[in-house]
Amino acid sequence: MSSFLRRFYFALVGLFLAAPLIVVAGVSVNAKQTLAFPPQGFSLAWYADIFIDTGWRNALFASLTLAILSAALAVAIALPLSWFLWRRIAPWANIFQLLGIAPFTLPPVITALGLLTFWATTGLYGQPWTAVISHAIFFVTLPLVTLSLGFTAIDRSLVEAAATMGADDRTIFRTVVLPLITPYLVSGYAFAFVLSLNEYIVAYMTVGFTMETLPIKIFNALRYGYTPTMASVTVLFVVLAAVIYSLIARFGDLLKLLGANSEEQS
């Protein structure tokens, strides 16, 4: 394919990916409370609104809290599991790996409905912390996959050397293993964090009637009255995701995480 055709094709796909976001960005700077494009007037008031309006601010706060806590819990589940699978030969333990990947592979509505029936049956339905556990289970796949990748990348002779010098499991983990897998740990956390921030259906089915996260708030606004604040929140989310992924790319090997050979080899 000639260079021109290739560029044209990339531009087309790029435009397709960017078009809705460009329109939303345009809408978000409207001067009046209308969803007009091209924007009429220019105002950043809708960005300020995210932090000034109590409803939006509370939703932002709820979403951030949920994402920070659930991503941490997801990593707390994934780390010992992937360490165990790396350290021990226990084929039956792979079932937990499978269980960790299942919620993400199945259509999300299934995990959401399962958790809804579960919380309703136990009588805990609607408690804010149930959303943290629900999201952690839903997104445990991400740190699990990045950490498994991280553990396979560890050169076992390093660990063996430490063991020969008399270090026990705990010391080896702290001084050898942990520094080596930290990039994978961080990127696993970041993936889970960003996706939790954007997640709608599980949050809605578990705490939708007692708590408003940002995606729930946007959906409600979509039904009961448009405001340009929805657009400014969307832009904020896209920028946040792009910044976080750029940081992963800056400090880690993003392409290797996504399946390419590592940097040195290529």
């Binding site: 939303v24 089915m205 992924y245």
Partner: protein, 285 residues
Amino acid sequence: MRREAPQRLSDYGPLAFPAIMLTVFFVIPFGTMIAVSFFQRQQGGFYTPAFVFSNYERFLSLFFAHVLGFSLMLAVLVAVCCVCIGVPFTYLMTKMSRRAQIVWMVALLSVLSLSEVIIGFAWSTLLSRTAGITNLLVTLGLMEKAVALSPGFPAVLTAMVYQALPYTILVLYPALVRLDPTLTEAARTLGASPLRAFFTVVVPALRTTILATLIMVFIFALGSYLLPQILGRPQHWTLSVLITDQAIYQSNMPFAAAMAVFLVLVTLGMVALTLFAGRKREEST
């Protein structure tokens, strides 16, 4: 340190927390859902333990046959569109510099992590009368006056392709980036044009990868629960939308659960197909 089998009970210690969490908060909820699918629904949104098949029997109506047929058709269509756009795109992307690849990947990941709510909102704005793409055409003098392009089937399909395309590219990427470059080089040396080399060498070499990707994108599209609701009319609702609707708005948990179990079975069937395709690939290499 060599890997070794656990010897003492304390060796299992690290496994305890993940095992408990995944069992209590995934296996048990999943079981609860299956149990509820056999429960008897009471008036007012409650249900009582029972063992009835009435929730499953409700599928056997023409309406649900229609919904199921539409869901499957939509998911197949999305998967085919995404693979047709994604394979050449990913192939060309792997030929770019590492730096350019990273930039594209950051963009793709950012779009992929967008909430369905946000994608639905963005597309409904883009396709709306007041803020939509048609305004641009009016400004350019190509159209008489702005029109609304949603709700409708094209809107649902476009937004779902938008949602699934970054996923498709990420699924294809590992296989394509490791593709032996000598394959195409050989074809080029023998005088094939790049386009011809792509279709006669790259595509056949990736046959099973493409099949597996089709199935994975199909499952992904089957899970879309908001886009048909935001951008479509009720006749464009899929099984996932209907499950949400029954669970939340109709308060019919047993029926929603029965539909969800059915959706799991369809998905698992597809996963089995993927694994089967993967095994065939291993045999052939």
